[in-house]
Structures are given as C-alpha cells and as structure tokens.
C-alpha cells in the first residue's frame, strides 16, 4: 500500500502556509496600496508636468558594474525637478529591447536612455515610430532626428591609470583582463598601454579575453593566468571584481574599472577608471525640458567629469601622483593628449604619423592594438 510520507505533508503544509500568508498580506497591502495610489494621484494632479524618463539596462543593476554606474546616473537624474525616472534591467539585446523601448514610449515616457551597444537597431526602429519622444543611445553610431547618441571618453581615464600601472610595475609586464574585442575595449587597452609606456618605455601589456562581462570566477582565473605569465600589475575591462581579488591574493597591484573597486582589494588597488554618467543625463534632460535638445553625438571626457579616477591607494608614491596629475590637468583643460602621433601598431607600422591625432571616427572604429600590447585584437 502506498503511503504518503511525512515530508510531503510538511511540504504541502509549508506551501499552503505560504499561500495563506500571501493572501493575508495581500488584503493588508490592498488597503495600503489603495491609500498610496490615492495619495499618488493627488500628488500627480498637483504637479502635472512631471516628465517620465526611462532607462534600459542590459544586466541587473545589482552587478556593481557597468549598469550599476548608469543606475547611479539615473538616481542623480531623478533628483532633477519635474523628473520621474524608472528602468527595466536585464533586457536582452534584440527583439526584447525593441519591445521594452516601445512600451516605454507608449506609456508616455518623454526621454528613453538605452544604455547598451546592442540596442542600436532597436532604438532607431522605435524612434521612427515615436517622433515626439527623445531617444538616447549609449555607445552607438546610428542617429535619427529624435535619437541621439552619447558616450564617455573612458580612454582618457585609462591612459592615466596606465601611467600609474607603468610606474608601479617591476617586471615590466602588466596584465589586462578584457571582456570582448570591441573598439571600446580595444581603445581602452591602447590608451592604457600608451600611458604605461609613457611612464615606462619598457612596459608591455598582456591581454586575455574572457568573452564575458561578468563571470567573477572565470575573470579571476584569467587574472591568475596573467600573473602566472609574469605580470605584476592587473588591469581590467570587466564588471566583476574577480581580477582585483586575484591581485590581492598574489600580493601584486591592480587597477579597477567602472566604479571604485578598492573595497574588494584594499591592499592591491592602485586606482580605478570610473564612470560618472550624471553630467550627461542632466545635460540631456535639461535640454529636453528647455526645448533646446537636438539629436547630437555627445562624447564627453574628463573635462566634463564623465570619466575619472578613483582615489589612489596608499602605496602610490607622490611622484607618480604628480606625474599623473600633470597629464590629468592637461586633459581636464580640454587637451585630449592620449592618442598623439607617432603611434605604431603591434607590427611596428606607423598608423598615426608624427604630429597627427586620430579623429573621433578613427577612435570609434579602432580595431588594432598599438605597439606594446601582447595579444590579439580579435
């Protein structure tokens, strides 16, 4: 005879307990929410001109990485008078992003920020359907009448972190854990290398691709593989602090990315190249509010505070700080000194002649590594 075992009874009881709990809560919450919606409605009638601003993120904002940095910008934007900001996170690129964009537009959002490169086609498509709504796409190159693009010159901060790393390395080998071989990452590696070699002409930068943005375990091992190859400073273009941990465990230095990563590796963290999106978001939202907005390509750098350096670790000596400070002052004054000819590629061929600087199109399409990088750019 088949008998029900106690565990089933327990399981069923737990589930039903959950259910009753849920229902009981529901009622209470129902009353509460009614009250709050009434309040909200009243508030809405009081300030009828509140503008809804939407953000879509490719990853969960809890990742402390790229989307998190954008979310900090969103929170700043939400503080602007007359602005109500909201977001949808973990939206895959493609058909899903198109739907989310369209739904935001239908819900009456006035400005929509799409923060990942892969949203580009969707943004252009949906922007055509909603000519009265402002779309802004981060890191892309397609624009429309009502769709602009924006990005930050992260390479400027990379260049400065490169100077720090180049000054601190003893083995003259710096490891760079990188996500995907796309121009944004390659440009950062090149800028970092130029900085490192400015401080230390013998320095070389070794690159390992993980093909992940966020896999702490794998990225940590990627850093270890670089340490095994003799590197004694680790930099990263990854959203996870895995590489920082690896550096700290081996007692070498590290350079972080996205936001200040010092909490993950206080003993090894030299500095981080960090994002600060608030100035761009504020500028765009205010532009729309004032009616001065137009579709443009915003590519702001350190002079506008969009990228920067995290506070130095104690181990960074004063002369290094001074060296970086001098370069930083030039960049902040608006002189983009990072890519200046002559620049040679890995084969030693001059790609940017003496006295010239690549234009933005060349920077955006950068797919080669400069001299001093060990690894392949694809």
């Amino acid at each position: 005879m088949y008998r029900f075992k106690p565990f089933l009874i327990v399981a069923v009881l737990t589930l039903s307990a959950f259910l009753t709990f849920g229902c009981a809560n529901e009622k209470k919450e129902a009353e509460n929410s009614q009250a709050t919606t009434e309040k909200a409605e009243k508030a809405e009638t009081a300030t009828p001109k509140e503008m809804q601003v939407g953000f879509i993120y490719v990853s969960p904002i809890g990742d402390a990485g790229y989307s998190y940095a954008h979310h900090l910008g969103e929170l700043e934007a939400a503080k602007l008078p007359g602005v109500k900001a909201s977001h949808v996170e973990a939206v895959p690129e493609g058909v899903d992003s198109e739907r989310v964009l369209r739904n935001m537009a239908r819900k009456g959002y006035k400005i929509i920020f799409a923060t990942s490169f892969g949203y580009m086609d969707s943004v252009i498509k949906v922007a055509q359907e909603f000519p009265d709504i402002v779309f802004e796409h981060c890191s892309g190159f397609k624009r429309a009448e009502n769709a602009g693009t924006y990005f930050g010159r992260m390479y400027q901060a990379r260049y400065l972190t490169g100077i720090v790393a180049g000054s601190m390395t003893k083995s003259n080998k710096i490891g760079y854990v990188a996500a995907f071989p796309i121009p944004e990452v390659i440009r950062g590696i090149n800028a970092f290398t130029l900085g490192a070699r400015k401080a230390n002409p013998k320095a070389e930068v070794r690159v390992v691709w993980t093909k992940t943005w966020y896999d702490p375990a794998l990225e940590k091992d990627a850093a270890e593989s670089l340490l095994d190859a003799g590197c004694d400073v680790i930099a990263q273009h990854q959203d996870s602090p895995g590489p920082q941990e690896a550096a700290q465990e081996r007692g070498v230095y590290s350079v972080g990315y996205d936001s200040d990563m010092s909490s993950f590796a206080p003993k090894s963290h030299l500095t981080s190249a960090v994002w600060n999106w608030a100035p761009i978001y504020t500028y765009i939202i205010k532009g729309v509010q004032n009616g001065t907005w137009r579709s443009e390509d915003i590519w702001w750098g350190m002079d506008k505070g969009v990228v920067g350096l995290a506070p130095y670790g104690d181990m960074v000596p004063q002369d290094v700080r001074d060296k970086v400070g001098a370069e930083q002052a030039k960049i902040e004054a608006g002189h983009d000194i990072v890519f200046q000819g002559p620049i040679k590629d890995q084969a030693g061929k001059v790609v940017v002649p003496q006295g010239e600087t690549p234009d933005d199109a060349a920077l955006l399409g950068m797919t080669y590594f400069v001299e001093g990088v060990v690894g392949t750019a694809n």
Partner: protein, 366 residues
C-alpha cells in the same frame, strides 16, 4: 492520518482546468507574498502584471511575437517527445537555423524577397535538421544517449555562432562589434499589416496546422499520438524504430531551425549572439506542460511569453528586480508540473469508509 494514493479511473474533464487554476493561484500567491516581503504592494503587482500581459492589444501583440520562436521549437520537440526521444537540443538547432538563414541572407543579398525568404527558410530548416540528425545518428548507430549529445551540441552550436559572428561574418562596417551586416530588406520577413505582427506568426499557424494534420491524418502521426512508447509506435506504424528516431530528431531540428530563421530575420535583422535567449529550453517546458498537443502548446507558449512581457511592466512600474519574473516563472512551471499528478491520482484517507469501492480493483492494475 495516513493517506494513500488511488489512481483515478476516469479523470473528470474539468480536472485539468481545475489543476491549472490551483497551480496558478499557488504560485502567484507565493510570488506576491515575496513582493510583499520586499515592501511592494502585491495587488499593484498583480494589476501591473495583468496590464503588461493582457491589458492592451499591444501587450497581446507583443506576447504573440515573443511566443513565435518558443512555439515553433516546442512543436518540433513534441514530435520527438512523443517517441520518447529526449531532444534537449532545440537551443542548438535554433542557433544552427539562425546561422543557416544568415548564411543565405549574406550569400544572396540582392535576391528578391520571394526567392530569398524561402531560401533562408530552407537553409535554416536544413541546418537545424542536420544538427538534430547528428544525435539521431549517434543514438541509432552507437546507442549514445540523446539527452547528453543534444545538450552538448547546444554548447557547440553556441560557440560556433560566436565564432562566426566574431570572425568570418563580422560586419566590416560595425566598428568591430560582433554582429553580421544588416540584412537587405528582402531578407526580412514582412509585416502582416495587422499591428506589428510579422509573417513569422503566420508561419507558426501554418506549422501548427501542419503538425496537427500530421498527427491526425497520417498513420505514423496517429500512432505517435495514440501511444507514446517508441518501440510500440514503430511496430504499429510498420517502420523500423531506428529510422523513426532519426526522423523525429531531424524533424524537431528542422522546426527549431525555422524558429531561428524567424527570430533572426523578423526580429533582429542580423545575426548576433544575443539572439540565444534560451528559447530552446523554454520550449521543452512548454511542450511538456502542454502534454505534447499542438493547440495547448500554442496556448502555453503564448501564456509564458505574456508572463515574460508582463513582468517587464512590473519592473517599470514598481522597480522590482528582473529576477522576480524568473522566480514566478519557475514556481508556475513547478506547480503545474506537480499538479498534473492529481489528475491521474487522488488522495484517500487510508481505511476511510467513503473510499470508492472500485479502488480495490484498481490495486491490481499497473
């Protein structure tokens, strides 16, 4: 109190519906309690979910579009599952289909759409079918377990897609981003003229009718439908078992391949790695929950797609993390799956006098 399980002799017609309702109530209850636990209003959540899923024609349209690839993969899987062939590989077959369609689109960019679209369909179907035939051959010739081979081939397919997009097919004009060139307009499945619904949805209807007719009007289909045990089907249909295994794996691969074609042509218009959104795995669940029948598969794909679309609305309105949707989906699937037990069996108090008399005779039944 001791309970025992008794097989229901004639499951009442309403039981499936009742169980579905119970499962939904249970899983929604737990999910909403979770909402309450993080200080969000469950009622507001329920309303936002409803509005996002079914609250407007747009929502329904979105769900239909999202359901299309799940539905197509699921149809194919249903054929294999009816033969007790456990094809877990729809994800990989989908990837191969998308690559096939892309291959055609990139090779003949200037062909008119009445030539190119069918060509893409054929390429996608063939590559998907071929990817399904590999585990089929391994099973038939070497008796290799298809659960494992199909699962492994999913990874191989995804890495293959990644390789193509990063390497040979990378768009030279994309600034190095890992995407293929945009398809020419003739390689994009046209809209139907009803809202944003595209021809892929029509293709789904066609595929569904095709499968339904196959199950109903062909001998093989009838046997597949009537009795779910591989060897028996083969015997009744007077076909060698091995050939049948190969047939169902190839067929389900072709269906998934076509799903890949629809996704890459109608939805993204170019191949990129983000098209691999797990439809192939979702389809397994859908096929099973729907008991491998075409109409319920359509319904289940639509409901699941609607749930995913609706959850975005909760996120937007209430700032709830995206993971909430996964929890809800997982709970709904688990409870529906578990609930199906009570359609077949019922609980009776042990030794209770009101236990139905026929149960005595049931005890000897298998």
């Amino acid at each position: 109190m001791a309970l025992r399980v008794v097989k229901r002799r004639n499951p009442p017609a309403w039981s499936a519906a009742a169980i579905l309702v119970c499962a939904l109530v249970l899983s929604l209850g737990v999910s909403l309690a979770l909402l309450a636990a993080i200080g969000k209003s469950p009622v507001h959540g329920l309303v936002a979910l409803w509005n996002g899923s079914f609250g407007s024609l747009w929502a329904i349209e979105d769900a239909l579009i999202k359901a299309a690839p799940i539905f197509l993969c699921s149809l194919g899987l249903a054929v294999a599952f009816r033969m007790q062939v456990w094809n877990i590989g729809a994800e990989g077959q989908f990837a191969l289909g998308a690559m096939g369609a892309t291959w055609a689109a990139l090779t003949f960019p200037h062909a008119p759409s009445w030539v190119l679209l069918p060509l893409m369909l054929v390429y996608a179907g063939l590559l998907g079918a071929a990817w399904g035939a590999i585990p089929g051959l391994l099973k038939v010739k070497l008796k290799a377990n298809e659960i494992i081979t199909t699962l492994m081939l999913n990874y191989v397919a995804i890495f293959l897609l990644e390789y193509m997009v990063y390497g040979p097919w990378k768009d030279p004009a994309s600034f190095g981003f890992p995407v293929t060139p945009e398809f020419t307009p003739s390689a994009v499945i046209p809209l139907l003229g009803v809202g944003r619904l595209h021809g892929g949805v029509l293709l789904c209807v066609f595929a569904g009718v095709l499968l339904w007719a196959f199950l109903r009007y062909t001998r093989l289909g009838y046997e597949l439908k009537a009795c779910g045990e591989g060897a028996k089907v083969a015997a009744y249909a007077r076909m060698p078992y091995n050939r049948l295994v190969l047939f169902v794996l190839t067929a389900s691969g072709a269906f998934a391949g076509v799903a890949g074609f629809v996704e890459v042509s109608a939805s993204t218009g170019r191949l990129m790695t983000s098209i691999m959104a797990g439809y192939g795995y979702t389809a397994i669940i859908v096929a099973w929950i729907a008991r491998l029948r075409p109409v319920p598969i359509a319904l289940a794909s639509f409901l699941l797609a609607a749930l995913r679309v609706g959850v975005e609305n909760i996120q937007l309105d209430m700032e709830v993390p995206a993971a909430f949707g996964d929890i809800m989906e997982g709970l709904i699937l688990l409870t529906i799956l578990s609930g199906q037990f009570f359609e077949q069996y019922k609980l009776v108090r042990k030794g209770a006098k009101n236990a139905p008399a026929p149960s005595a005779s049931q005890e000897t039944a298998p």
